[in-house]
């Protein structure tokens, strides 16, 4: 199959949907002539023009608000927040408006919008351009949260998100944009709320999101040489969460390690851990559920400190090995 980068897969998904559906348009900062801070929308303005690829001033609340308004009138907008950190400026629009309109109007109005944003550290962009804030949105009733880890998932999930009638927070990762993978040319959808077992193994279940899926797979390769087989699970959609495959897997392995980049306290890992502990998988646990996640500090600018703030492959190897050996 043909290989595309994560950014190319997203772009192809956007282009193919815009070609078939005139209600879809893009709006964001520098997404037109410049092609987006990470190049996802490069060239789209040439094909679709400034009416459907709209450059805005630095105005995150405006981008979110425009998307909501357009969606209410029947459009399917795809907004872009240049760095996830600045979605903080859109919170009123997203939390109080986008998330609540459909409910408060008794289902008579709907908000079919997608807001794309790159999160994550690793680029030396320091504390205000490196955050992983996905769990803020998981906590809000009315929003869906999607976090693809591969080019294949990025395209399939984006198309599903565009055609979902609810506001979808679509969290990309800066370090994933250049990663490559097989992507079918024809448009396809990956249903939201469909957890994916990425790799089978019988010793430890590793639930990872976004770039941590990639790191967990590398850790699994290393540990396989020691005879430790990790089962890697990627929820892909954090909300609504399809937890059945996670519970099934933990019933098989008896051990669960949850890995995400976002800060551990208040992070999505706590939700996963609680789902496991509250399910029938509890009776199969052979060790405490473990979390491996970001430190409770702003992301440092210094490269070495930055690297040590979020889980790396060697950290996952270490934690998973200890779990497999019942060292906890």
């Amino acid at each position: 199959m043909r290989e595309l980068s994560y950014a190319e897969a997203l772009r192809e998904g956007l282009r193919q949907m815009m070609e078939t559906d005139p209600s879809i348009f893009l709006i964001g900062e520098d997404i037109g002539v410049y092609g987006g801070a990470f190049g996802v929308t490069a060239g789209l303005i040439d094909q679709f023009g400034g009416q459907r690829v709209i450059d805005t001033p630095i105005s995150e609340a405006g981008i979110a608000g425009a998307c909501i308004g357009a969606a209410l009138t029947g459009m399917r907008p795809v907004g872009e927040i240049q760095f996830m950190d600045f979605v903080t400026l859109s919170m009123e629009q997203l939390v109080l408006q986008a998330a609540k309109v459909r409910f408060m109007f008794g289902g008579k109005a709907k908000v079919p919008m997608v807001l794309r944003m790159p999160g994550g550290s690793g680029t030396g962009a320091a504390a205000q351009h490196s955050e992983s804030l996905e769990n803020w949105f998981v906590h809000v009733p009315g929003l869906k949260v999607v976090m693809p880890a591969t080019p294949y998932d990025a395209k399939g999930l984006l198309i599903s998100a565009i055609y979902d009638d609810n506001p979808v927070i679509f969290v990309e990762h800066k370090l994933l944009y250049k990663t490559k993978g097989d992507v079918p040319e024809k448009p396809y959808r990956i249903p939201l709320s469909q957890t994916h077992v990425v790799r089978q193994g019988q010793h430890v279940t590793v639930i990872a999101t976004s770039i941590m899926v990639t790191r967990a797979l590398a850790a699994a390769d290393a540990l396989a040489k020691e005879g430790i087989e990790l089962e890697i699970i990627d929820p892909r959609t954090l909300k609504p969460l399809d937890d059945a495959p996670i519970i099934e897997s933990v019933k098989k392995t008896g051990r669960a390690l949850i890995v995400h980049e976002a800060v551990e306290i208040g992070g999505f890992g706590g939700e996963i851990a609680a789902r496991i502990a509250g399910s029938e998988a509890f009776d199969y646990l052979e060790a405490p559920i473990r979390r491996l996640a970001g430190l409770d500090i702003p992301i440092p600018y210094n490269r070495e400190l930055e690297r040590n703030t979020v889980p790396q492959i060697e950290n996952i190897i270490h934690e998973a090995r200890k779990l497999a050996q019942t060292a906890y």
Binding site: G254, F282, D283, Y284, L285, E286, A287, T326, A327, Y328
Partner: protein
């Protein structure tokens, strides 16, 4: 820093010890190795020795207190060190620590009025709570009060006592589920996880050792594989694995002792001859099973099972009879032998053996054995020793009857038929004299089978 002296674990199974008396007072100077107090264990009284040179301080339990092993009983201060160096006891709640400043309990059982902190502030507790605490050697400073204004009530103290009395079993959820599914007592399982936590795999291993592991039996034990040239490799699985695991466990864990007696079979032979004349069959095994039940009634320590820390003396005599199969062996059980006639026992043993060979035994046929008889006499074996069938504590190995000359009371040779009975016992439960007395009574009843009527 002050050295904490803990109550040592004097034996594997020891959970707690009672402090008989203190040999030192707070403020006494001791050298490492000096006796500090005398404690009572399940076997003998022992002395707890000082683990450092220094001054005794902060005695945590009065004489008479029952102390869980590894709890701190007192501290030894370095010369010049003040009693402030003593850390708050681990179990003290923050509130108690704050109000009572890590008060050590008085060295001697105190009067109600004496239940106060070292700084003289009385502890806020009901009189009943104080009495109950003193009876159980509980330091009230370590109790968090739930009553009005933080007052310590009797319920608070009793909750602490209950918590101390039930040692918490550390086991993973998986271990608890597997134990429940297989009716395994977690207290009988040894944990291999961190700090001895019981893992699911530990329980699975314990289940494999249980007698009920009959489910492991291959469905067709009689179908022999095709003979092929060269060596054959047979997987250690199914019944073979069950036998391997259980026999290894028994021989490694149970200290076996052996007691042989050669028994004159004249009485048994006469009884069998009379029945044969009436066309009735009575096997040597059946009469030995009956004789064993008769004897076990008089020696209950051999009619027992050992599980964890508990010896169960069974009221019924459920005697297993080892039956050889083509690919292994199985031990069906004749239940309540003591209440059954020889005829019934014979019928049951014939039925069990036939069903064992046709693989038609039920779980119940294998359950609750309290003693086992293994007879290899028909193979011409003179004598042999058998491995105890756990959790039972004794097994009888029967050899063949051999005619030999023995001197009579005048020293003249008399030909007698003698059979070797070899008893194996688990010395954890059965001592030598008990085993010997059992064998003496077994000889008595087998040499004079009429006694079975008694």
């Amino acid at each position: 820093m002050a050295t904490a002296v803990i109550l040592p674990k004097f034996g594997f199974t020891l959970e707690s010890s009672r402090i008989v008396r203190w040999l030192v007072n707070e403020g006494d100077t001791v050298r490492e190795g000096d006796p500090l107090c005398e404690v009572e264990t399940d076997k003998v009284n022992m002395e707890v020795e000082a683990t450092a040179d220094g001054v005794v301080a902060g005695i945590q339990y009065p004489a008479g207190a029952d102390v869980p092993v590894t709890n701190v009983i007192c501290y030894i201060l370095k010369p010049g060190e003040s009693a402030d160096a003593i850390l708050a006891p681990e179990h003290a709640s923050a509130v108690a620590a704050e109000s009572a400043a890590s008060t050590p309990a008085p060295a001697q059982p105190s009067t109600s009025a004496a239940q106060k902190a070292a700084n003289g502030v009385p502890i806020n507790a009901s009189p009943l709570a104080i009495r109950v605490a003193e009876e159980h050697g509980i330091d009230l400073a370590s109790v968090q009060g739930s009553g009005a204004g933080g007052k310590i009530t009797r319920a608070d103290v009793e909750a602490l006592i209950a918590a101390k009395d039930t040692p918490k079993i550390r086991a993973t959820p998986a271990a608890r589920r597997i134990a429940a599914e297989n009716a395994v007592e977690l207290s009988t399982v040894t944990g291999t996880g961190p700090k001895g936590r019981i893992q699911g795999t530990d329980v699975t291993a314990a289940v494999a050792r249980k007698p009920a592991a009959v489910l492991d039996m291959p469905s067709a034990p009689s179908s022999a594989p095709e003979p092929t040239p060269g060596n054959r490799v047979i997987k250690l699985e199914g019944m073979r694995r069950t036998i391997a695991t259980r026999m290894q466990q028994s021989f490694q864990q149970a200290p076996h002792t052996f007691f042989e007696a050669n028994i004159d079979t004249a009485g048994v032979d006469a009884l069998r001859a009379r029945l044969k004349a009436r066309n009735e069959k009575l096997s040597v095994t059946s009469i030995i099973v009956k004789a064993c039940a008769w004897t076990l009634k008089r020696h209950p320590y051999l009619n027992a099972t050992l599980t964890g820390d508990e010896i169960t003396l069974w009221s019924d005599c459920n005697i297993g009879v080892a039956v050889a199969l083509e690919n292994g062996l199985i031990v069906p059980v004749v239940h309540k032998v003591d209440g059954k006639s020889l005829q019934t026992i014979q019928t049951e043993i014939d039925d069990l053996a036939a069903r064992a060979r046709s693989n038609a035994l039920r779980l119940n046929d294998l359950a609750d054995g309290t003693f086992t008889v293994s007879n290899l006499g028909m193979y011409g074996i003179d004598r042999f020793t058998a491995i105890i069938n756990p959790p039972q504590v004794a097994i009888l190995a029967v050899g063949r009857a051999v005619r030999q000359f023995v001197p009579d009371e005048h020293g003249s040779p008399v030909a007698k038929s003698l059979v070797s009975l070899m008893l194996s016992t688990d010395h954890r439960v059965v001592d030598g004299a008990q085993a010997a007395q059992f064998m003496a009574d077994l000889r008595l009843v087998l040499e004079d089978p009429m006694l079975m009527l008694w």
